[in-house]
Amino acid sequence: MMAAFVFGSVAAFLVVLLVLMNRGDEAKEFASSEPHHQARHESHDSLQPTELAIRIFSRDDREFIALTRSARLQSLYQTERRKVASHWVRRTSREVSMIMHSHRLNSRQSPNLRVSTEAKLFCQYVQLRFLCGLLLFLIQLFSPHALRDLAFYAGKLYQRIGGALPGAAAIDRAVSSGNSATL
């Protein structure tokens, strides 16, 4: 009971910390370069956020730099990617806040508000803000490639477990083929 309470408190504290960190960084960046950014947001030929993320976290770039085997270059690459990735996350977070702000203003005058839709939208907004905070935290703590690395590590672990438990792997394959047959 006590352990659950402590765990819950720590989790709540982390959430608040992440949101505050995100807000602080955002405010700083927003204040320092708002006119510049405002103008640049009005782009017509910019990439979609996902396409940009793919470019920022590109494996090709990382492998190209790794091939040089220069510690200085690799360190510079990490620093540069960290900067760009943080910028991308903050911008995404700021843009969604602006969208929500204008939605809030519009919805005040709307006569047919649906509570369930609004609640769902708000939950998605909180979820995205939390994810942005978490991403910023991970990027600062590890590197922009941390999530990809984690996924890769999980894949390797899965292979190791599959290798150690051939029976389990066979069951898993049977379940997978069964699922695909039903789809």
Binding site: S43, L52, I56, I65, E80, H87, R91
Partner: protein, 144 residues
């Protein structure tokens, strides 16, 4: 025969003229980017090109230069670092400057910052500047 050639040479508009006469002659996109940025006035942010303005009017010329600038920037900003290093190598060769001096000047003065078009996505700008810094460092590493 002559009329066929004349048809080929005749340009429909300022965009075609700029693309086929001026930019096609340049060896890499980085050279195109620097050239297009140089046609923009630092104070007003407006593009000027005497030849194009004389043929198609100042407004059309301005539009063509601005569109081309954005397009070339977009290509370069999304280029993998490996290809950007190749672009930079070609540009250094074309500039006929001594490579180490060129790299030093670009790292110190960062002239590529003024080559960014106005009103483009801020993350794309960050990515472009970051990749140029990395590409310059790769070239310097290869020189050592």
């Amino acid at each position: 025969m002559l009329s066929d050639v004349a048809k080929l040479v005749t340009m429909n508009n300022a965009d075609d003229d700029l693309q086929h006469r001026t930019l096609a002659g340049m060896q890499c996109n980085l050279a195109r980017l620097i050239y297009l940025a140089s046609t923009r006035d630092y104070n007003s942010g407006m593009y000027h090109h005497e030849g194009l303005s004389a043929c198609y009017g100042a407004e059309q010329a301005r539009g063509a230069l601005e569109a081309a600038h954005r397009e070339v920037f977009s290509i370069l900003a999304t280029l993998p670092i490996k290809k950007l290093v190749n672009e930079l190598e070609t540009y250094v060769r074309v500039s006929r400057e001594e490579p180490s001096g060129f790299i030093h000047a670009w790292q110190e003065l960062e002239p590529y910052r003024v080559a960014v078009p106005m009103e483009v996505d801020s993350t794309m700008v960050e990515l472009f500047l970051s990749n140029i810094r990395l590409a310059l460092e790769v070239l310097r590493f290869r020189q050592e």
